[in-house]
């Protein structure tokens, strides 16, 4: 048996043991599905939810909120990060503003998200944006600050005459790994904000919305189903991104992980 299969088998064994303990504790120690649903309760709830057919809509709506927030964070975070990382004046001008806004927890933006956007998809997207924007901004900024000086000078002697050319052909490609890891962190934070962003009822569907909805209905096994799906979806999104970045963008850094 090689290391890899050994690792896998042990992992599966641990999961089974955890599930068994969970089941025993839920059924014989706690004994109330409302306090702690058992494995079988959750499995049953999952089958029911599959049958009722809203799971796919929930996932789609959540991905939509998440996509809006992340896209906006990317479209604003990368250019502002470039400006601040490349032009000192932009850095001096924007840094105090950023430093004041950045420590504000993303969820503290919820009241204004509702006031500005109403109970809309955009409002949920805005909360996710508030969480995802700063990781992308700071990663782009430091990626640009850390571009080796010799690359910039090589670019200059080889004929890059303008800041635009130096950014486009030298600094941006050099900063791609930093930006990619910033996006990865931003996706993690954005996903965390999702549940809160859907809490105030911007839509009839959504993983976060359903989590709260089922809580109000005291359907705790359903709550656990949505918790697990949220975790699993977050994991899958992260894996897909990582594989894409490793495979496509970073062929030149073989073996390194964003």
């Amino acid at each position: 048996m090689n290391r890899q299969t050994q690792k896998r088998l042990l992992g599966i064994a641990a999961l089974i043991v955890a599930a068994v303990i969970w089941q025993i504790v839920a059924e014989y120690v706690v004994g109330r599905s409302f306090i702690l649903p058992s494995v079988t309760d959750v499995a049953g709830a999952f089958v029911n939810l599959l049958g009722s057919g809203t799971l796919l809509a929930d996932i789609t709506v959540s991905l939509e909120h998440f996509g809006i927030g992340l896209l906006a964070a990317f479209l604003l975070g990368v250019p502002i990060g470039i400006l601040m990382g490349w032009f000192r004046v932009a850095d001096f001008l924007l840094d105090p503003i950023i430093e004041i806004l950045r420590p504000i927890p993303p969820l503290a933006w919820i009241p204004f998200a509702i006031i500005w956007f109403g109970l809309t998809t955009q409002a949920a997207g805005f909360v996710i944006f508030a969480g995802a924007f700063f990781p992308i901004l700071t990663a782009t900024y430091s990626g640009f600050r850390d571009v080796p000086k010799v690359f910039v000078e090589a670019g200059k002697v080889l004929g890059c005459d303008t800041s635009f050319e130096l950014i486009r052909y030298v600094a941006l490609p050099a900063a791609v790994p930093a930006i990619a890891s910033g996006i990865r962190i931003a996706m993690g934070v954005g996903w965390m904000c999702l549940v809160a962003a859907e809490m105030f009822g911007v839509s009839r569907y959504g993983l976060g919305y359903q989590l709260w909805h089922n809580y109000y209905l005291h359907q705790m096994p359903n709550v656990v189903v949505y918790m697990l799906i949220l975790g699993l979806a977050g994991l899958i999104i992260d894996r897909i991104f990582r594989n894409y970045v490793d495979g496509q963008l970073l062929r030149w850094r073989a073996g390194e992980v964003a």
């Binding site: 080796p148 010799v150 690359f151 000078e153 090589a154 200059k156 002697v157 080889l158 004929g159 890059c160 050319e165 052909y169 030298v170 490609p173 050099a174 791609v176 062929r251 030149w252 850094r253 073989a254």
Partner: protein
Amino acid sequence: MSGVTIRDLGKAFLKEDGAATQALAGVNLEISDEEFVCLVGPSGCGKTTLLRIIAGLETATTGGVTVDGRAVTGPDPKCGMVFQEYSLFPWRRVIDNVAFGLEMKGVAKEERRRTADYYLELVGLSQFRDAYPYELSGGMRQRVAIARALANDPDVLLMDEPFGALDAQTRNRMQKELLSLWEQTKKTIVFVTHSVDEAVYLSDRIVVLSPRPGSIREIIDIPWSRPRDRTSAEFAEVRRRVLRMIDETENAQ
């Protein structure tokens, strides 16, 4: 004509507290077309600064540099540069690194790849054209860097301790290859080095700088034909002379 003329050149760096450090003072040097000149001197004598001013990467405080009769005001593809550190763009394949300068000039893809292939062939790395820089050894990276500088067809090739990070054997081989490239391309080369041995092996003239503020202490002509024999008595004699000169100035500090 692709000579370099340096006139009354001085360079002062401003420190944080506002005090100025004089790095170079009163440097006058005439480098003629197709000449191979090495700059040597004790550490901190400003030889790299001098090279960077010729490249347009630093500006002189006084005096100036003309290349090919035109004053240097900033970086220009007419002056190719090979850096001491590995400066290949790691995100570009070898071929696209070499073609970078032509891409900036707006040369069409087909044509710039053809030119790049020619220069890769010249440095003997055709089989690595589609590799990424991380796949190459240190010596190969510097050969690609030389090809990249040459592909721009510069009048002058500036080299800042390009072989400084290589092991002794690779270094000797690179020196031979550089001489053969120089004979084929007929570029004017200004070469900064710490190694007196390297300077004697390569150059038509060795320019010895004195320490801060750097100025020219002596220029030594080496009229011998190439390839030169490092073990010969005359080679050893010149090497001894230059080393003594650098030692004296260093101790005088």
